[in-house]
């Protein structure tokens, strides 16, 4: 049965982020009081994902290398998008990700005070990626580079849980149709199944945010529909986790998110018993 391989230090898998850093990412999305640049939205999304992935694998002796992570940016150039000590690194073990954020920011979050109210708490928030918006949109070139990374990974780890590629973009490629490159990624195989491609579309076209839809009818433009069509179908066990998060799924559900939070995909990956709170 595919997508059941153990994820462990002896049999790790990889996560490849491909992030649009082109000039159009300078544009703003949102409305009312919450207006953000697209570049900020995608860098925040990756920083949050790396944060969640790190916490998932943190144990007393350190962070376990269940995952190795690459982060490719494309805009004025194509290459590693990590800032700080990991600058120019391609595939990095998660333990090194954990110990090498570019900086630790302090952010406030509201947590229950135990008496029905909320209290503000200061938490450390690591930043590995800064928002960048510059140059053209060589999406096809970047996805081809991601394919190379995934290909090298499955060659070296033939029985791994299939690699996960998360592509974050506003959808407007300037170097051609990305479909061939994405097909190239999804055709790569470990003994446990094909590599998975997720797409996060940040768009100022408006419309209703969507998380893992099973059709493109409600998507507002051709870019969203294209990205939906080149996203992997969710494997069965991931659909079960999506359902647990309150999402409707069907055979047509794809790994596509439109103007919504994509952090939940970390919860689609099994490394052992989950620390679920009693409900």
């Amino acid at each position: 049965m595919p997508y059941t391989a153990e994820i462990s230090r002896a049999n790790p898998t990889c996560f490849v982020f491909v992030v649009d850093q082109s000039g159009s990412m300078q544009d703003q999305i949102g409305g009312g009081e919450v207006v953000q640049r697209k570049a900020q939205v995608v860098s925040d999304a990756i920083n949050r994902l790396l944060y969640e992935l790190t916490l998932k694998c943190a144990k007393e002796e350190g962070v376990r290398d269940y995952f190795h992570v690459a982060c490719l940016g494309y805009g004025a150039s194509v290459g590693s998008a990590f800032a700080g000590a990991l600058r120019e690194r391609e595939m990095v073990p998660l333990s090194e990700i954990a110990t090498n954020p570019a900086r630790l920011e302090e952010r406030t979050k509201k947590t229950p005070d135990g008496a029905g109210g909320l209290v503000e708490q200061t938490v450390k928030f690591p930043v590995w990626l800064d928002p960048v918006a510059d140059g053209g949109t060589p999406m096809t070139q970047a996805l081809a580079q991601a394919r190379r990374l995934v290909s090298d990974w499955v060659d070296a780890h033939p029985s791994c849980f299939p690699p996960v590629v998360l592509h974050l973009t506003d959808g407007e490629s300037t170097d051609g149709d990305p479909s061939t490159a994405t097909q190239g990624i999804m055709s790569l195989l470990s003994t446990d199944g094909n590599a998975l491609l997720f797409n996060l579309h940040v768009s100022s076209a408006g419309g209703t945010p969507a998380t893992f839809p099973d059709n493109d009818a409600a998507l507002p433009d051709q870019f969203a529909k294209l990205l939906f069509s080149i996203s992997s179908y969710l494997p069965e066990h991931m659909k079960v986790y999506a359902k647990q998060q309150g999402l409707a799924t069907s055979d047509g559900t794809r790994g596509f998110v439109y103007n919504a939070d994509v952090t939940s995909i970390v919860q689609f990956l099994d490394i052992g018993t989950r620390a679920s709170d009693l409900r």
Partner: protein
């Protein structure tokens, strides 16, 4: 009645023994593996606990939970959990102090997990003697997927709390260091009771072994015959060898394993 309790354990393949996050405890009066329940007032208490992978200090928490139950001769599981939760702040304080002392301060990625607390399953059982010629009595309580199996002769008499291999997943109910909501705990606590006679065997184990056992039982393979072979203390090497073979064959999930065998001689 003589009771022989033997435990075997092993860490997940690819992990260091120090990374083993299960725990077990036997309420013993002495340093022997053999107890005599000749006195009807005597009880033997055992516990097995499985710390969650995605939880900080879960192995320590499993140890605290298991030992707290067997340290008492009367307290119900719920009470022993509350006492373990009362102890936890001290355990956490000592851990942080030891890290400080070793010049290894808590890293940013550890803080959220330590704040959230630790999680573990808990399975407890108590065996009571009866007057001669009458059957003994046992009770068990469980939160999560650590299981107890009672075998009499060549029959599986009881599987608790899970009865089918398909029931196991990666999100079992877990006892948390900070969750004191009694209603929630009661909602997830399962209870069982029964009697036993000379020759009966009880196996208490964590989820990977339990899932294997039930899968084998479902195909009429009588898995207790294999596990009975590990019941002597000398069976440790055989247990290790067997887990390695079953893992490599894909029949046993690669996870920490704990098997506590209680034999009524």
């Amino acid at each position: 009645m003589q009771v022989d309790a033997v435990a075997h354990w092993g860490q997940k393949l690819g992990c260091d023994p120090r990374e083993y996050e299960d725990a077990y405890s036997v309420g013993a009066s002495g340093d022997t593996d053999v107890w005599t329940l000749s006195d009807t007032s005597r009880r033997l208490r055992v516990a097995v606990s499985d710390g969650a992978t995605e939880s900080m200090l879960s192995g320590r928490w499993a140890g605290v939970l298991a030992k707290q139950y067997t340290a008492s001769s009367r307290a119900q599981m719920r009470t022993s959990i509350r006492r373990a939760q009362d102890r936890w702040p001290r355990v956490l304080h000592d851990y942080k102090a030891a890290r400080e002392h070793a010049d290894k301060p808590i890293a940013w990625y550890e803080e959220p997990g330590l704040d959230r607390g630790a999680h573990a399953t808990l399975l407890v059982a108590e065996f009571r003697a009866r007057a001669e010629s009458e059957p003994g009595m046992w009770t068990a309580e469980a939160v999560g997927d650590s299981c107890l199996f009672q075998v009499a002769g060549d029959a599986l008499v009881c599987a608790f709390p899970f009865t089918e291999a398909a029931q196991f997943d990666t999100s079992p109910a877990l006892v948390q260091t900070g969750q004191r909501n009694r209603r929630l705990l009661d909602k997830h606590c399962r209870r069982a009771a029964g009697s036993y006679r000379d020759g009966d065997t009880f196996f208490l184990c964590t989820d990977a072994l339990a899932a294997w056992f039930l899968a084998q039982a479902e195909r009429k393979a009588e898995p207790w015959r294999i596990w009975r072979g590990f019941s002597a203390a000398a069976g440790a090497a055989a247990f290790r060898e067997w887990t390695a073979v079953e893992r490599s064959a894909g029949r046993l999930k690669n996870d920490d394993v704990t098997l506590l065998t209680v034999s009524m001689a």
